[in-house]
Amino acid sequence: MEDLARYVCDQARRRGAAFADVRAVHRRAESVLVQDGRADKLSSATDRGIGVRVLVGRCWGFASADSLERSRADRCLDDALALARASEAFVTDPAAIAHVEPVQAEDRCEPEVPPGSMPVREKIARLLEYERAARAEGGSAVVNSVVTYSDGQRDQVLANTAGTLIRSSGSRAVCSCMIVASDGKILQRGVEHRGIAGGAELLRRTTPEELGVRAAAKALALLKAKPAPAGRFTVLFHPSITGLLVHEALGHNAEADAVWAGESILEGRLGDLLAAPGVSIYDDSTLAGAFGSYAYDSEGTAGRRRPIIENGRLVGFLHSLETAAKFQAAPTGSARAASYDCRPIVRMTNTFMARGTVPFAGMLAGVERGVYLEDGHWGYVFVQKGQFICHAGRARMIERGRLGEPLRNVSISSMTLDTLKHIDAVGDDFEMRMPGMCGKQGQAAPTDCGGPHVRVREVVVGGQDGA
């Protein structure tokens, strides 16, 4: 793959590309689905291919092929050059690229248990353990149990016309348990999941109690929960919801491609005080084993810790080589491509709010009537409007400074800049356990997010109960 990548870069340079990079990738993945006591579906996938990106004149061209043959790579280069040239006349914002110091590196992340080295039979046995534990916890209320595991290995060579050549290999593994329970009248589900930048050691580290038992306990608790209230409340975010807040509400707005395009609400706000002084938010791809971590991004820039908000002030954006050039900023190693057939775009990695100083009891004490949101599930954002949505798998009422009755799953919606201003307490704890796939422009990227408990005023809770 190295020779091929070098060859394409040489050809691109000779044929007039101001810059070009090439990613040659080979991926293998395996997954196991255990459901209602049976290993229902066992899957594997493999693919290999090459992606060629060229900067010609003022425009980018990109082409990919599912082959590592030289003839296909040649055709990719032909296509990429032609695509860029065909588009150039309609470019209003000329493409740019930051100065790149060539990097020659070998980045081998060796997991404790490489994907593929653990027999599928052993994976099934472990998933059945999780399921048995869940069913023991849930008893006769459990109507359906689904436990999944998947791992994958990716070997990549990245080269560019500046002389960078990085050989890398990495792996990721995820497992989840979903339990659906019934009381004879309604159904509720509890979900628990784990993910690492690593291999099948995830199954050895994750206990049946923390995956299966927790999922079942959530489902059982929801059967007794009441519908959430509807309206504007003071809310207390569990770290998983704080994670969704920093990822969806702020993180996507801090991606410099959106800022440069004039779409982000953070355009022109660098240096502004956007949140209380106790609020600091970072994106960090260097956290060992975290789901969003890597050594080098898809353009060959080393990953790092990227401050976004420090003590309430907006201090930085996430940059690719292109946005760094346009903002005259340093690249932050934030350009990621989902696979060889995707262009690198600006993405988050592991995004979190730093811990504060307020104990959980102190946060509760200040709430006369509010909602405690737990179990972050999903969220999305419209960066253009600065409006975000987060979904909590469960909640609790807060009445006169104490946790009250359990509530069903519920979403919240608010405006990013209002919400940052309305954070009035940042907890002294911290948790980051939200491994997931973040979607942007059709590409999925592994990310994680978290933080401390956080208290926020004036958040709209989309509950079912108007009382």
Binding site: A39, S43, T92, D93, L187
Partner: protein, 443 residues
């Protein structure tokens, strides 16, 4: 030999190999696709991309246990390994007595218009020209607008063969434009998106997407907060499409058989008001989700999923049909899942404008995700693109507002389906009206 013949032979060869290795049942899906996409950013063309790929997926069953392997490219070594791997995984899977059989070969009517030579023959310059026309029209409509999005096309063909003798081929094209428009006036923001798509170039007005997006963005300027309360909610065509799509997806027979979906125990029962009838029809000519067969080779037939409010049918693949002792409805995917196709709700008696005029106070949801909890049916959704209605008239766009409730409570309160609808290839999207929905506001 045509290209589809090549894939059919490849599939048949893989099936034979898998059977030789011990697969009791097997099917193989293989094909190729190529795409061109032009990305618009900051009201200009940002990049042009092209891709070409071949994929093969093999599914094997041994005593009902399923092994599945997917591989990209044409490498015979990789394909051979995938076949062996699928068989080996099927051997490791738990035997499943509920698996009965894969579909038998079945003649199916040809669905017209799935492939358009005009789309297949388009060059990148053609796609760039469409993007440029959108940029010009969008900027002319609103100088200063920020446009983003993409124009793209896909051309694909492939085949499916199975150990039961299924041997089918398909070709298809699609072309799509999605444009977002953002207008900033001081502190005020108007933002909306529009799209157009089809299998045929002639079915789309791709050059007009940006202008429509700009018009939408203008309407969303001046958003205000509203108070909480119980209100009438009118779902515009795009919102109703998402809502009904989620509802039909919940009629997935596997969810029901596993006891995990909110429609469990509802087959044959009234779940909605008699105003609601939905037919799933994959045989609509030129439909984006049309085709002669599903992903397992079962022929498609129109299926009334909801008839006058009654849950009339579930969506089956071959596995759930075998388990239920029923016939597959032709909604199987090759990966073992179940998926709806083109949804065609029955239209009502009066136009959307009349339905809106009767609303004393409510919300018009133009577009937005209403994603009910798959187990409970609870809804807690943001009003992403919605307007406040007072005295039968749309007043202003709303911000920071949400809808809450349960889909099972909402459906009986659906009191009207419009007689007019937005039509996209294969799809029919009317306006729906639902009474007495909980709205949460920031005021």
């Amino acid at each position: 030999m045509t290209s589809t013949d090549y894939y059919l032979n490849l599939c048949a060869d893989c099936v034979k190999k898998a059977v030789r290795l011990g697969a009791e049942w097997c099917d193989v899906d293989a094909g190729t696709s190529r795409d061109i996409s032009v990305t618009i950013e900051k009201s200009g063309i940002k990049a042009a991309d092209a891709g070409q790929g071949e994929d093969l997926a093999i599914r094997c069953f041994i005593r009902g246990g399923m092994g599945y392997a997917a591989v990209s490219g044409r490498d015979t070594g990789d394909i051979g390994e995938a076949v062996a791997r699928a068989v080996a995984l099927a051997r490791e899977a738990t035997p499943d007595p509920d698996f009965k059989r894969l579909p038998e070969p079945e003649d199916a009517p040809e669905v017209e218009g799935l492939f358009d030579d005009a789309v297949a023959g388009m060059s990148v310059e053609d796609v760039v020209r469409i993007a440029a026309a959108n940029l010009e029209a969008g900027r002319a409509a609103e100088p200063g607008v920020i446009l983003s999005g993409s124009i793209g096309l896909t051309v694909g063909e492939g085949a499916l063969a199975s150990s039961t003798g299924v041997a089918v081929t398909a070709r298809g094209t699609s072309i799509e434009g999605v444009i977002e428009a953002l207008i900033r006036r001081g502190e005020d923001t108007g933002y909306y998106y529009e799209f157009d798509f089809g299998r045929h170039r002639a079915d789309c007005r791709l050059e007009a997407v940006a202008e429509a997006a700009v018009a939408g963005a203008r309407r969303f300027l001046g958003a205000r907060r509203i108070s909480s309360g119980r209100r009438t909610v009118v779902l515009g065509p795009l919102a109703s499409y998402g809502f009904l799509g989620a509802l039909v997806s919940a009629a997935n027979a596997e969810s029901i058989q596993r006891g995990r979906g909110y429609l469990c125990g509802k087959l044959g029962q009234a779940i909605a008001s008699p105003h609601l009838t939905i037919v799933d029809d994959a045989l609509v000519p030129r439909g984006l989700k049309s085709g002669a067969h599903d992903g397992e080779g079962t022929r498609h037939r129109p299926l009334a999923v909801i008839e006058r409010g009654v849950l009339a049918s579930l969506l089956h693949n071959s596995y759930t049909a075998g388990k239920a002792g029923a016939a597959s409805t032709g909604h199987g995917t090759h990966g073992g899942g179940i998926s709806p196709t083109n949804l065609r709700p029955a239209l009502g008696a009066r136009p959307a404008a009349d339905l809106l005029r009767e609303v004393a106070e409510g919300i018009y949801l133009e577009s937005g995700e209403i994603r009910p909890d798959p187990a409970s049916g609870d809804v807690s959704a943001s009003i992403d693109f919605g307007f406040y209605i007072k005295d039968g008239r749309v007043q202003y766009p709303v911000e920071s507002a949400m809808l809450g409730g349960s889909v099972l409570d909402w459906l009986p309160r659906l009191d009207a389906v419009s007689s007019d609808a937005r039509e996209e290839p294969g799809l029919l999207m009317p306006t729906l009206r639902i009474q007495d929905v909980q709205v949460a506001g920031a005021e």
